[in-house]
């Protein structure tokens, strides 16, 4: 797992803000890149997670890192119990948070291959993760997959893909004492200058989404970089491009014609996760509709959706009810033979309609080492295709 050519992320350009005391208030990037995930189409296949893993987190100290991860809701997720770990903003003040440790993320396991395959006990020894005493074998990125909530016959679950929200008010940036973190003005991507990061991990405490990982081997924190080298080349992030469900929109919420703008601002069916955390996420979700509940005699309760609306409100805030109403209304219109621009948008008849101005096929880029700009990678390596 070495030499994947991942860039050393350094502060390479002007036009960002960050450093001590800068809350980012009012500094929202005009060209902020945003994403919308339509949860009605997510099947939990983790292709997005693996696309990111293959591209960005294959080097030393990154085994347990999943900058993109998909969890079953309701669930404890990753890191374990992250929603209860604090952080974010409240009334303009940062909220103290808990720094998730190695055991809470779990994963990144070493297995007893030697013992099983070469130790002469292969018929009696099971393949298992080796316990190094740091608790990492008791949890993992997708540990509570498909457990969900509710009681049979009204059990329910859905999938929630998560990555850094590249927030408009990134509390992680404000919490970093060494000024290593910053938000780019040109597209609002939140980055960290790894050469300036001192490994203090206040960013991990402060981020309410707990989407920052620590590289113990290199003593730096790391998180999703929104595939910024791809964005700069007009290529959509790997998680979005690889998603077989065709449900990840990429673009600018400021562009009136973009699907993102329409979903977030016009139809208001795409909502941020935990808006009460106060950081102004730029990743949005179309909440999941669900089938009706069943009565005890197994007749259908047409009035009550299987996923409790109050649970969805706890994730996406009170606007979730209006969003679901809009979706149901549009579905009814189409079922009655009508047309719905909203549903046509969510169906995504043409794959490239997802990606706004980021439709370049990475296979068409000149990838010879001399053509890779220095800031993209460790010369002379070549980025991985994804």
């Amino acid at each position: 797992m070495r030499g994947t050519g991942r860039p050393v992320i350094e502060r390479t350009r002007m036009g960002e803000y960050g450093a001590n005391g800068d809350t980012g208030e009012g500094a929202g990037a005009p060209g902020q890149v945003a994403m919308v995930f339509d949860l009605n189409k997510c099947m939990g296949c983790q292709t997005c997670s693996v696309a990111c893993k293959v591209l960005w987190t294959r080097e030393e100290g990154e085994d347990h890192q999943w900058w993109m991860s998909v969890n079953t809701q309701p669930g404890l997720g990753t890191p374990k119990g992250w929603e209860e770990m604090g952080g974010g903003w409240l009334d303009g003040q940062p909220v103290p948070g808990h720094q998730p440790g190695r055991a809470e993320f779990g994963g990144g396991w070493d297995f007893n291959y030697q013992e099983v395959f070469y130790g002469g006990t292969g018929s009696s020894t099971h393949l298992r993760p080796i316990d190094h005493g740091d608790g990492n074998t008791r949890w993992g990125m997708n540990w509570d997959e498909d457990q969900g909530g509710g009681e049979y016959p009204n059990s329910y679950y859905f999938y929630l893909p998560r990555l850094c929200n590249h927030c408009t008010h990134p509390v992680c940036v404000s919490a970093c004492p060494s000024g290593a973190m910053y938000k780019r003005h040109e597209d609002g991507v939140v980055l960290r200058d790894e050469s300036a990061c001192q490994g203090a991990r206040f960013c991990m405490e402060a981020c309410p989404y707990k989407k920052i990982y620590f590289n113990y081997a290199r003593n730096v924190a790391q998180h999703c970089i929104m595939c910024f080298p791809r964005l700069e080349a007009g290529v959509a992030p790997a998680c979005a491009r690889q998603c077989p469900g065709r449900l990840v929109f990429v673009g600018s919420a400021d562009d009136d014609e973009s699907p993102i703008h329409k979903l977030v601002h016009q139809w208001e069916v795409a909502l941020p996760l935990h808006p009460e955390f106060g950081t102004g996420p730029n990743i949005f979700y179309v909440p999941p509709l669900s089938p009706s509940r069943l009565h005890e005699d197994l007749s259908i309760d047409e009035e009550t959706p299987r996923i409790p609306p109050e649970y969805l409100e706890s994730l996406f805030g009170p606007k979730v009810h209006a969003a679901l109403d809009t979706m149901r209304r549009e579905l009814a219109r189409v079922r009655a033979g009508g047309q719905s621009e909203l549903l046509d948008t969510l169906i995504v008849y043409h794959w490239n309609d997802l990606f706004g101005r980021y439709t370049t096929d990475p296979a068409t880029l000149d990838r010879s080492p001399g053509r890779v700009p220095v800031r993209f990678g460790r010369s002379p390596s070549t980025p991985t295709t994804s």
């Binding site: 001590n20 005391g21 509390v171 404000s174 004492p177 203090a200 206040f202 290199r218």
Partner: protein, 207 residues
């Protein structure tokens, strides 16, 4: 604080080992430490997270200095964390003013008056590839940057129970102003960056 007895006599290379007998003959001084003030912490998150939380209780640090050619050697000895490291490890540092008349080291320097920081950190098993010592410049609590081409700083450590002995070695020019400061971070208390213990005034070294 003026510690008249602290000098930096010439020693052999063996003094890079904190347990070397050479240190027995060199005078040392106990340097008391105080918490880096919470109001000096530069960002609202750190202040919010650590107000009312106990930190910076390490020290005193027994400090002795010596020279080996163009290298300054400093031996620090103090009671560290009694429990094995969790997320954070024990660490210690030497602070040097870059100009005469630099304000006391209690804030670990300021933007206007940067100070040099030689920092030693204990390492987890997964961190053995990292250097144990770093040459940094500090412009405030936890505002550390590597010093490009600042001269190599190395460290060797030993531990007896919870007591650390560490020898930090670096370019002797660091002592040009004749002053030195000490900082300690208690890993078991999640101390790091600007959350730690530091001496309130410079320690003067006899010429």
């Amino acid at each position: 604080m003026s510690v008249g007895s602290l000098t930096a006599p010439e020693v052999g290379e063996e003094a890079l080992d904190p347990d070397a007998g050479a240190w027995d003959a060199i005078p040392s001084e106990g340097v008391p430490l105080v918490p880096v003030p919470i109001e000096a912490q530069l960002n609202a998150y750190v202040r919010a997270a650590w107000t009312g939380r106990d930190y910076g209780r390490s020290g005193p640090v027994e400090l002795a200095l010596a020279r080996h050619g163009d290298r300054l050697l400093a031996r620090l000895s103090w009671d560290g964390s009694a429990v094995p490291p969790g997320e954070f490890t024990d660490a210690a540092g030497l602070l040097f003013p870059r100009e005469p008349g630099t304000a006391p080291p209690v804030t670990m320097g300021t933007h206007a008056e940067p100070v040099t920081l030689w920092q030693w950190r204990d390492r987890l098993a997964s961190q053995q590839g990292l250097p144990s010592a770093r040459h940094l410049v500090s412009t405030g609590p936890g505002v550390f940057r590597p010093v490009p081409a600042g001269g190599e700083v190395s460290a060797r450590s030993s531990r007896a129970g919870s007591r650390w002995s560490v020898v930090l070695a670096g370019p002797v020019e660091a002592l040009a102003t004749g002053s030195v400061g000490v900082a300690v971070w208690a890993g078991a208390n999640a101390e790091r960056a600007g959350i730690g213990a530091v001496c309130a005034t410079w320690v003067e070294v006899a010429p």
